[in-house]
């Protein structure tokens, strides 16, 4: 994997150069094993290897702000620790030009019995700034932290919010050439966050190279032009921040190992599929969906398919395909709020099913059920297509959802009795992303009608 930006001209423009860096952790089952292995002088191996970083290469030009995205355990923190030279890489080279200030943890090393003022100075001195210079700047820091008289109180007496503010003030007081920020921007209240953003903008203008790690795509998109995506110690994407965030979202919702390994190819394919589909008309796609003979599970090829779905059921029937059509798109992953959506669901009878009922539910990413219903609730009886064992059902609704990621559950059940028989439940089979709309706030649009009272009276 070569993601090096080869078009960087002169070498002295580079702030950070990471070349094929790998980091191995040795995992010991028992504490004593580390000693045993050391004593055996390599004759016996007690550890298991774990590669937290597996060949990462990228470079950052001076004054650039780069984002790092990745799930928990993807190697972000290890990478940052190596860049901050807190940790050493196992193989590969890292070159960092200039003074590095690392915000790996806000307020790391603050001594609770010392006051905020003393801790800020201490932090600066540890980072290599003479005490005098820190004392000159302390008022500026006090103003930035904005915690009033608590600045001269022991840090142990601080609330979490105050601690965070002080930590940020301390980190920014260092005036680094390279600033490394790990998850630090998500804390603090909105006003303080805004202040931090302003400060980062200021640093950007001063030509400070900044590396930001965040789980929030919004923050990355706001502050960085370029971002990299890490997963399981591999660098999966390096490029435009907006694309990187999209990319990150796509792997966030697909946790299958093999999929992640080949995700480059897969996104490539889906991209091509999209092109193909776009060249086809809606009717063609629908016809293809309706006429396709049963060849197994076709859901997996849908753009919105989530391979982290939870599937169970007795297998008497199987949901074999679905198709989402909107006013503007065919089989989309992203939907614009307010569009009319048609969802076609196709299922097959494998063994005898009694009164099959197909249902659909829409859930937010944190599991709130927005709406769910099924054909038996709507007093519908489904009939197979032309006497065969395949059933097709269409469902339409207006997408009145707010921006965000939503999961779709599909279920094929029998609800004749109080006890539901599950033929095929496919929870979170699809994940769709609804694009932002500015028309309302909240989860969904209840279509408020505003009328001026003077008009009502008329």
């Amino acid at each position: 994997m070569q993601y090096n930006q080869s078009n960087i001209s002169a070498n002295n423009d580079i702030a950070i150069e990471v070349n094929n860096v790998r980091k191995r952790y040795r995992l010991f089952k028992f504490r004593n094993d580390r000693v045993k292995e050391a004593i055996s002088l390599g004759r016996k191996i007690y550890h298991q290897e774990f590669w937290a970083l597996d060949g990462i290469s990228f470079s950052v030009t001076k004054g650039e702000t780069i984002g790092i995205l990745g799930r928990n355990g993807s190697g972000k923190s290890t990478l940052l620790q190596i860049l901050a030279s807190v940790m050493t890489e196992t193989t590969g080279d890292v070159v960092v030009n200039g003074r590095v200030a690392a915000l790996l943890e806000l307020g790391a090393g603050f001594k609770p019995e010392f006051t905020g003022r003393e801790n800020v100075i201490l932090n600066g001195v540890i980072q290599g700034i003479p005490e005098k210079q820190m004392i000159e700047k302390i008022d500026e820091m006090r103003e930035f932290a904005d915690i009033g008289d608590f600045f001269d109180q022991p840090v142990g007496a601080y609330s979490t919010g105050m601690f965070v503010r002080l930590g940020f003030a301390a980190a920014l007081s260092v005036e680094p050439d390279v600033l490394i920020i790990d998850e630090a921007l998500g804390v603090g209240d909105v006003l303080f966050q805004e202040k931090c953003f302003m400060k980062i903008r200021e640093l950007q203008q001063q030509g400070v190279t900044i590396i930001i790690v965040s789980h929030s795509g919004l923050i990355i998109e706001r502050l960085c032009k370029r971002a990299i995506v890490l997963d399981k110690g591999n660098l999966l994407y390096c490029g435009n921040a907006v694309n990187a965030v999209d990319y990150y979202d796509s792997i966030m919702f697909s946790r299958d190992k093999t999929v992640v390994k080949n995700i480059n190819n897969i996104t490539h394919q889906t991209h091509e599929d999209n092109v193909n589909l776009n060249s086809l008309s809606k009717d063609d796609v629908l016809k293809e969906f309706l006429d396709a003979p049963y060849t197994g599970d076709l859901c997996v090829r849908r753009n919105s398919y989530n391979d982290n779905e939870v599937r169970f059921g007795n297998g008497n029937g199987e949901i074999i395909d679905y198709l989402i059509l909107t006013d503007s798109s065919i089989d989309p992953k992203r939907i614009v709020s307010g569009e009319k959506i048609d969802i076609y669901i196709k299922f097959i009878e494998k063994n005898k099913m009694e009164e099959p009922s197909i249902g659909l539910g829409i859930f937010t990413h944190d599991g709130i059920m927005l709406c769910a219903s099924n054909t038996s609730q709507k007093k519908m009886t489904l009939k197979p297509v032309e006497g065969k064992s395949i059933y097709i059902c269409k469902l339409s609704f207006n997408c009145l959802l707010n921006e965000g990621n939503y999961f779709i559950h599909l279920g094929l059940t029998c609800r004749l009795d109080v006890n539901v028989i599950y033929y095929d439940m496919r929870r979170s089979i699809a994940c769709i992303n609804v694009e932002p709309t500015k028309k309302f706030e909240g989860l969904c649009d209840l279509d408020f009608k505003f009328t001026e009272v003077s008009n009502c009276l008329q």
């Binding site: 050391a38 807190v86 590095v100 690392a102 790391a108 090393g109 201490l122 540890i126 005490e131």
Partner: protein, 267 residues
Amino acid sequence: MLQRLFNFIFTIYQQRYLIKFLTKREFVSRYIGTLAGVLWAIIHPLFTIMVFWFIFSVGFKVTGPSEIPFLLYFVTGYAPWLMFSEVLIISTNGARGNLVLIKKTTFPSEVLPFVYMGAASITHAIFLIIIIMLMFFYSVPFSFYIVQVFYYYIVLCFFLIGLCWILSAANVFHRDVGQAIGIIINFWFWLTPIIWVKEIIPSNYQWLIFINPMTYIIEGYRKSLLYQESLFLDFPVTIYFLSLSALSFAMGALIYKRLKLEFADAI
């Protein structure tokens, strides 16, 4: 190897402001939040000496060699020993105790033994001042040999630093080191002629106690303060001590420099 050693020493030299600042903080943090504050730094040694005065002068009534009050004999040995044992024990737990700084910030942890040594030196200086006052009290004559104390203090530090680096790095990987050091120090105390007089060892075996490098320091303090002897008299022991210190310093520096890279992994 020499190149690496000099680089390491140079990076420490670059951190001198940090050492100064951390020393101040380390010293203050011991007494922060107490009513008496820094006064404790004087109260502690003062009371320690008063307790020993009570034991040796009122209780046991022992006399030191050549008519020197035993209290003075003891305290002149005890002061450098206290400095030695305190710095060694605190430094051994130094790297581990500053885990957060090491893991989360770019912190040059190799300065820590210097910091602890600096803080302990303040207590040591107070101790020495009390000893000098005691010498007035017992009307022990003064001589210019007293400046030799500085020499012995500096070589003690030189010897200590290397040991501290080795132990502090080892303790990061094996906590047993931190546990064991207390016991070792305790043994070492009794092996060193601090509370006993070296004349009790038969003269054929005198060399045995000089294998112990701390004997050199402690006898050195006594020479400068009490016996008024020149440090050049025992030239072979001086050479032995200095080469031992140089060895421990170089080894300590190289070992620390190497193991430091793995600190964040191990803890």
